[in-house]
Structure formats: structure tokens, C-alpha cells
């Protein structure tokens, strides 16, 4: 016990560093996947068949294969096969490759949520706007958008919470996120080895962060509950 108390500051500092990387990947993914997902959603709903076909195909492949494999390929393919290591070395290169993989993967999931949201708004809403002389733009921003957001908040919340945990997959390309940081103390790092308890600590980080997210997203959902 005394030993743990001694080691605690070292472990916490290390986990904090790792969690910072986890948070960075989390926010960068959301920032990229929110808009990209919308573009993909419009692509798959396009009346131009080749575009919607291609988009649906990409979504099928990305959702149908593990994110871990996608990340391995995105990170190693340029260097090993094309002999052109575009990501550069070091932690920043790995972070870039992980971000691209996560954004692409999550954008595909988000696109399906968006599509469901857009299509679940009754067509009568648009028609009511049209006969009232509103432009399509006004109808989207003043009528449809909020109804769509209301409908996608619950499934989005699910994906967002899954994303927090999925960021740990990035350790497969040695991104030093929180689990990587915790695991280091099992193998031996900074004079500490064979310690499994730092891993339990990582769970606390996840739980607290996901708890906060749950409260936040729940508030958003409640805020939109004033209409049906």
C-alpha cells in the first residue's frame, strides 16, 4: 500500500499525459466526423446513382471491417508499399494517421445516423414550408434541421460514448494514449514494473469522462424535449 502511494504521483502524471492524447483524438475525430458524415449522408441520398452507389460501397467497407485493420493499413501502407511514409515518424505522425482513420470510420457511422434523422422528418413538413412560400434553404434551417437534431441525439450519444473507448484502439500503432500509458507500468517504466493497478485507474478516467458526457448529452436531449 505504501509503495502504491509512493508510485501514485508518477502513475497519475503518466496517465494524465496518456489521457490528454485520448482526449485529443476524441475531439479531433468529432470535429472531423461531424461534417464529413453529413457530406457522406448527402452522397448516399443523392439521386445521381453512381455517386450514391459509390458512397454506399465505401460505407459498407468501412463499417464492415474492423477499425483496427483500417488504422494499420492507413498507417503502414504508404510507408511499406508506396515507399512514401507520408505520416512522418514519431508521436505526431502516429496521431495524424490515427485521426484520419478515426474520422473516416466514424464519419461513416454518423452518415447513417444523419440519413435516418433526415429521412424521419415527415415530407409534410417540407411541403407545408413550400406552400407557405419558403425557400428550400429556409425550410432546412428553420423547420427540418431542429427536428432532425432532436431525432439523432440519442443514437449520436451512443456513438460518441463508444468513440471515447474506441480511441484505445490507437495503441495498435503505438499511439501513447491512456491504456498504453497504463500498460507501460506492467512491462516496466519509470522504475515501476509488474503493476496492474494503473490499468484500473485508467478505467476511472473513462468512467468519469463518459459520465460527464452522458450528463451533457442527456441535458441536450431534455432541452429538445419541449416539442414532439
Amino acid at each position: 500500500m505504501e509503495l502504491i502511494l509512493q508510485q501514485l504521483p508518477i502513475v497519475i502524471r503518466s496517465l494524465n499525459m496518456g489521457f490528454l492524447q485520448t482526449l485529443k483524438l476524441f475531439f479531433v475525430t468529432l470535429l472531423g466526423a461531424f461534417p464529413l458524415g453529413l457530406i457522406i449522408a448527402f452522397g448516399s441520398m443523392s439521386r445521381f446513382r453512381p455517386l450514391s452507389g459509390l458512397t454506399k460501397c465505401v460505407v459498407w467497407v468501412v463499417r464492415g471491417t474492423p477499425l483496427m485493420i483500417q488504422m494499420l493499413i492507413i498507417y503502414y501502407f504508404p510507408g511499406l508499399v508506396l515507399k512514401n511514409p507520408i505520416w512522418g515518424g514519431g508521436e505526431s505522425g502516429r496521431f495524424l494517421a490515427a485521426s484520419v482513420s478515426f474520422i473516416l470510420n466514424y464519419a461513416c457511422y454518423f452518415s447513417e445516423i444523419y440519413r435516418g434523422g433526415i429521412q424521419s422528418v415527415p415530407v409534410g413538413q417540407e411541403e407545408a414550408g413550400l406552400v407557405l412560400g419558403m425557400t428550400k434553404r429556409q425550410i432546412f434551417f428553420r423547420v427540418t434541421l431542429l427536428q432532425m437534431i432532436k431525432r439523432i441525439v440519442p443514437p449520436m450519444s451512443n456513438e460518441i460514448i463508444t468513440l471515447v473507448k474506441d480511441t484505445s484502439l490507437a495503441r495498435i500503432i503505438a499511439l501513447q494514449e491512456i491504456i498504453w500509458a497504463g500498460q507501460a507500468f506492467m512491462k516496466g517504466s519509470q522504475g515501476i514494473s509488474g503493476a496492474i493497478w494503473p490499468l484500473f485507474f485508467t478505467m476511472v478516467y473513462y468512467l468519469i469522462f463518459n459520465g460527464l458526457l452522458t450528463i451533457l448529452l442527456g441535458r441536450l436531449e431534455a432541452k429538445l424535449n419541449y416539442f414532439r
Partner: protein
């Protein structure tokens, strides 16, 4: 004088011809009821007038101006269609109120957006729009529900707000697509009363309805449609009380048997 002239309108969906050569006229301040069984093309006709569907052929004139001419594609341009729609108002079967806005906001939204659009020529001030909306709520007897959201209103109340919303833009012709079909029987009365009051104030209206007694009492003119054609039209009372056409007679017989 005819406010609306519809000539030789045709419309097909794929291979199904839904409207086959529809022509009729409507005078200002008059009410026409369109009756007929489901699938006879009544709703499609209303949707064509409101440019939710584009007819394949024919001419639509309002106040003598050609709004649509199947032979002149330039009358179909999207930017022009928007201003043409404002000649017509449409009240839907299932209300289609905007759920995120209160009753008052539902009525004010379109006029407010229109006032912002400088090209529209309508530069009403926000206070005027609000005053009109409040006056309309008064007229439909829902002044006390102005801050309620649609889900807090009964179906009949929602439909009355939808009527006020359409009236707020002062359309030349107000169209109703089976305005009481989605309502419980005990709620149809309050909606019909509002429409009846509009008729008494000489609002020009086209009403697609299954309420035969209402059509007979409120409409000046009745059009009976069957299989995409106008089979019989004329004075409301005489068409409904003593139909000449065999199909009209068969159709109306269902209603009298049901005690209408």
C-alpha cells in the same frame, strides 16, 4: 369574374394517368367542394394548384395571369414558382404544423421570412405581423392557446391553427385537402365551423372533403371527380340532392345509406 381558371390539366405518375383533362372555373368569393372516392385525383388536383406537383399539360390562370402553361416551360422555373404559390394557401389533412414552434410562431414564421426577403415586395414590420397573427388566433377562437406547442393541442385545434397559418399570407384562394379526415368525429365540428365562417366572409376556397352535408351547405359549387375526370359539376345543392350522372348517384348513395 373568374379568379381561377383551370384548363385541360393532365398529370401522370409513371403510366398511371391521375388527372385526365381537368377544367373548371371559380369566381372570387365563391366556394367549390371537390368530392369523389379515394384515388379519383382530388388531392393530386389540389397539389397541382399549389405546385407541389407539376402538371404534364394544361393552363392555370389566377386573376387572368398565366401561372402555369404546359407549353411554356419558362413558367416552371423554381424561383418563379415560389411567388406563384403565394396565390394559394393549402391546409393539409394531417395539419403539418411545425412542432418546434408555438401556435403563434407557426402563424408568424412564413410572413416574417417573407418580410425579410426584399424582392417579395411585402415589407411588413414585425409588430404588424404579430398583430395579424394574434387577430387570426382570435378569429379561430384560440387566443388563449397562442403559446402552446402543437403537441399540446387537440387535432381540431391544430387544424384551426393550420388554417390561421395559411390565412396569414392572405392567399387569393385557400385550398383544403380533406381537412377533417384525420380528426375524431367530435372534433370535426370545430374545424368545419371555422371554414363555414370563412365562407360567410367570402373567402375563395376549394375544399376536398368527404363531409357531404357540409359540402352541400357551405359550397356554392360542387365538382364530382371519378377516375381522374370531372364527371359532374354544378350548383352544390342540386348536384348533391339530385345528381344527374350515374357514377355520382352511386357515390352519393353510399352516404345517404350511412345516414348523411
Amino acid at each position: 369574374m373568374a379568379i381561377l381558371e383551370v384548363e385541360h390539366i393532365r398529370k401522370s405518375f409513371g403510366r398511371t394517368e391521375v388527372l385526365k383533362d381537368i377544367s373548371f372555373m371559380l369566381d372570387r368569393g365563391r366556394v367549390v367542394s371537390i368530392i369523389g372516392s379515394s384515388g379519383s385525383g382530388k388531392t393530386t388536383l389540389l397539389r397541382c394548384l399549389n405546385f407541389l406537383e407539376t402538371p404534364d399539360a394544361g393552363v392555370i390562370r389566377v386573376n387572368g395571369d398565366v401561372l402555369f402553361d404546359g407549353d411554356k416551360p419558362e413558367t416552371l422555373r423554381e424561383d418563379r414558382i415560389r411567388s406563384k404559390r403565394l396565390h394559394f394557401g393549402l391546409v393539409f389533412q394531417n395539419f403539418n404544423l411545425f412542432p418546434q414552434y408555438t401556435a403563434l410562431e407557426n402563424i408568424m414564421l412564413a410572413p416574417t421570412l417573407l418580410a425579410k426577403d426584399k424582392k417579395s415586395g411585402q415589407n411588413l414590420r414585425p409588430e404588424e405581423i404579430r398583430a395579424t397573427a394574434e387577430e387570426l388566433l382570435e378569429r379561430i377562437g384560440l387566443a388563449d392557446r397562442r403559446d402552446n406547442y402543437p403537441h399540446q393541442l387537440s387535432g381540431g385545434q391544430q387544424q384551426r391553427v393550420a388554417i390561421a397559418r395559411a390565412l396569414a399570407l392572405k392567399p387569393d384562394i385557400l385550398c383544403f385537402d380533406e381537412p377533417t379526415s384525420a380528426l375524431d368525429p367530435e372534433l370535426t365540428g370545430e374545424v368545419l365551423r371555422v371554414i363555414r365562417a370563412l365562407a360567410e366572409q367570402h373567402t375563395t376556397m376549394i375544399i376536398v372533403t368527404h363531409e357531404m352535408a357540409f359540402a352541400r351547405d357551405v359550397a356554392d359549387q360542387v365538382i364530382f371527380m371519378d377516375g381522374g375526370r370531372i364527371v359532374e359539376q354544378g350548383d352544390a345543392r342540386s348536384v348533391i340532392n339530385s345528381p344527374q350522372n350515374e357514377r355520382t348517384r352511386q357515390f352519393l348513395a353510399h352516404y345517404s345509406r350511412n345516414g348523411e
